[in-house]
Amino acid sequence: MPGLTFLNTLFLAGLAAASLPVIIHLLHRRPAERVDFSWLKFIRRAQPSRTRKFRMKDLLLLLVRILLLAFLSLALARPALKGGLLGSGEGRARTSACLVIDDSFSMGARSGDERLFDRARTRALEAVSLLGSGDDAMLILGRSGSKSIVGEPTRDLAFVRRKIEALEVSARGGDVAGALGEAKRRLETSENLNKEIYFFTDSQAAGWKAPGDSRIEIGEDVSLYWVTVGALPEANVRVERVDRVETLGDGSRGPVLQAVVRNTGRGRRTSLLVELESGGEMEDQALIDLEENAAASVLLRMGEPASGPATGRVRISEDALGIDDVRYFSFSGPQVVRTVVVGGGSTVPGGRGPAFFVGKALDPMGDDSSGIRVISVRSGEMPSGEMETADVVILADVPRVELAQMDVLRRFVRRGGGLLILAGPSVDLGFYNRTLLPEFLDLSLIGPYGEGDAGGFFEIRLVRNSHPIFASLEGEASRLVNDAHFWRVMRMRAGNQASVLAEFPNVGPALVEGIGGPGRVLFFGSSGDPVWTGFPLTGGFVPLIHEAVRYLSTSGGPGIGSHAVGGSANVMLTGGGGGVVGVDPRGEELLLEPRMVEGRPRVRWDDLEIPGLYRLRWGEEEVGCFAVNVAMEESSLDIVSPEWIADRIDGERVRFIGPEDEMEKEVAMLRYGRELGSSLIWAAFALFAFESWLIRGRRTSDSAERLRKELFR
């Protein structure tokens, strides 16, 4: 029968019991007993004349008994009918509903007079109103890392309503697969016939973390109502990123920041105001024009050079989706980067070695005006005093490092110092492979490779364009390194604990970064020695070496970078001890207990839910500050169609409900209409009564006793 299902199919085996009356009848069939009796004249008078009628009555009794047992078995098996007509009104089967409200920050977008999230709450309340007594509900949030608000099924629907009304949109991104999976898992324990997931969302494409071929399994017995609550705004501009960039020749003012602003909506935006704020003061402004779906970068300069980290925010005029109109930053590191360049000499007699080119590239005027102060030392003369205050150390084709200096170098990196190693013709492969590299990098050197300038050259190809060293060059990095020719390079093999940022095609890694910190370590497969390469003489060398040093200098210090909403911050502190107080953007304090890692205190701060600046204090001293920003993908206005969604959901019972659709009507189409168990129980009762009526004359005790009382009193 179409639409009929059984919830406890095990009890269907009980249908065999329906054959019991027949079996009992057959077992009790035996020849009639002969009995002497003295009142046959009464029997003769009482003997029925219509035997056929009684035979029919017997058959009817047998049928009633069979049906009685069959109905009881069927009732225990909990049969149910589904369908739109049966599903409406009273008497439908019990329902377990899991309400999933997408609280990703795109739901905070305004559409008309209200936010999408407000509409989602209204629709969720409407869905609750479709539940009745005996139904239960759960409530979870569709943000990334879904969160349960009412995690266990409850029949207290008023409680669920209050929870819905108290919800607020989050700053997280969305995760459709995670939320639906969580909802399905929670519904699996329900024994109710109707299992329903309501997903209230803006259908934003960014919520689909795995938009490929992977499908979200809902299950055959779960109904999914995909409720689109409204359209995302057509216009949106976001502050996509803020980076600190170095401006050569101007160290007298504060750092220069580069803000990338992108128009993700439709239409051109003109004269968009971009502002830089720090410490509550507006530091710089710019006006930009933006074409549709285009980005523009803006340089903004902070006012005074600061001794501490550079913190603040870049914001634009608030639009329909306001949360991505602001981006917070916290850049650590000194204003003037102290760089110790350790030179190994040149392989060309009388020539200038790699340390010369590196030093000149970093501080061409020798007056720190580039923001980088270079301290040049010879190999074997690594002064411990300089190393104590240095931010970055560059080993420019150093053959080997004395053991005592290895200890100094090891401590330097452990306290957060940045290390750049340039491998050239002077390096001692054995020392590097056995002593130096195992300390800092999962890397082994194979040896020099290439035939010199007579045998052609190698080029560099970037592997990770998004790495901060390259990203701050705004896509120019590839062009800048294109002119670099390498006649001879150091062949090397990177291990799993190393990250290859650039490579020499068909040769191997060119630029490798160590993973694990605390100080950052870079290894470059060429030294800048003129015998090996002409790279120092090209236009790309200066910006790249600057970016590399600036990147290495931000390994530690009070400014400790940026984190995404919903994530955790694992912060290495430069000072402090004991209890560290964390202060979130609202000013609320949280006591964090540091733990010592490699001699330095480290604190972990989980569940960073609010965008803004998070500060770490030890006593009165600020020992750290980091920024937390929303995920940029979430501010995309791209949405997905019901067809696209249907292709990615593995479930038979999926309905899409638009902003104007009647939810009650749509829900009734999938909801199981009626559980027939109770009806069958009543039918069994009726059959039992009928059976009792049919056999009423077959019982002896009552009538005989009545007769005795009357006659023998």
Partner: protein
């Protein structure tokens, strides 16, 4: 406790296990009397009441010689109730009386009842006789009041077997003609005959100035018709068989049985005949009470 022990012999199931009819009768009556001593019929029995002066014609056996020895005058003992009742116990020994759904047939029950009545009556100095019949008079023992007569009566009761057929009406008419002296007729029967004929026979007794007490004996299964499944019912006299399913006929059967019994009860009442219906599991005291009530009315 001893009284309770004796009263248990009022149960037909218990008393039927005894072998001799005399013992059965004695135990039933003793149990019955033990119960009476606690009841309203106390002092009924034949007991000394007073002395009166001897008058010519008085039997010499009633002279109290002890009083004469003391007072030198003749006094006779006067009893509270002097007996002159002549009772005829008429026992139906027809074929239908042989029916038993349990351990006791109607005839056995009737015989025990008759024996108990005889014992009781002779204990009261009444004279009692026995008439056994089926289609005709099978045995007639005239009433006597001697103790030795009891032995004869009980012996004859013990011999009774169910006959071949039943014709209560005819037998009663024959008996009415045969019994000349008026007395108490106690009929013990299942009355399995046409009520008109039976009542006619009983009226015949009334016509001849007899008092009539009818003990209508039925087997419990004749009342309840408790059979299950399919049965073939076989008539005790004709051996005729009827194949039936008892549940189908039970209601009508019980209805017919009710009407039949009510007719007897009503017709007996109309004819001033005492009518006591009983099942073969009914304790005997209930029936002996019936007799005593009748006896009391007779004075």
């Amino acid at each position: 406790m001893a009284t309770d022990d004796t009263r248990r012999f009022l149960d037909p199931g218990v008393i039927s296990r005894l072998s001799t009819m005399e013992l059965k009768a004695r135990l039933v009556v003793e149990g019955f009397i033990a119960g009476l001593h606690r009841g309203p019929y106390r002092g009924f029995s034949v007991e000394f009441a007073e002395h009166r002066a001897y008058m010519p014609g008085d039997p010499m056996k009633h002279v109290d010689w002890k009083v004469y020895a003391k007072s030198d005058r003749f006094f006779v003992k006067q009893f509270e109730e002097e007996t002159n009742l002549r009772a005829y116990i008429v026992l139906d020994a027809s074929a239908s009386m042989g029916y038993a759904s349990g351990d006791i047939s109607k005839l056995e029950y009737g015989s025990m009842l008759a024996a108990s009545l005889m014992y009781l009556m002779l204990k009261q100095q009444d004279s009692v006789g026995l008439l056994a019949f089926d289609t005709q008079i099978r045995k007639f023992i005239p009433p006597r009041s001697t103790r030795s007569h009891l032995h004869l009566l009980l012996k004859e009761l013990g011999r009774q077997q169910a006959g071949a057929r039943t014709d209560v009406g005819v037998a009663l008419h024959q008996l009415a003609e045969r019994i000349q002296r008026r007395g108490l007729i106690i009929l013990i029967s299942d009355l399995q005959d046409d009520p008109e004929r039976v009542i006619s026979g009983l009226r015949h007794f009334r016509h001849r100035k007899h008092e009539v007490l009818v003990f209508h004996i039925l087997d419990p299964s004749e009342v309840a018709f408790p059979f299950e499944g399919e049965v073939v019912l076989r008539d005790l006299e004709t051996r005729e068989e009827i194949h039936t399913e008892p549940w189908r006929v039970r209601d009508r059967y019980q209805g017919a049985m009710r009407e039949w019994l009510l007719e007897y009860r009503n017709r007996c009442r109309e004819s001033a005949i005492d009518y006591v219906p009983a099942e073969t599991r009914t304790p005997f005291d209930a029936l002996l009470f019936g007799y005593l009530q009748k006896r009391k009315r007779l004075g």
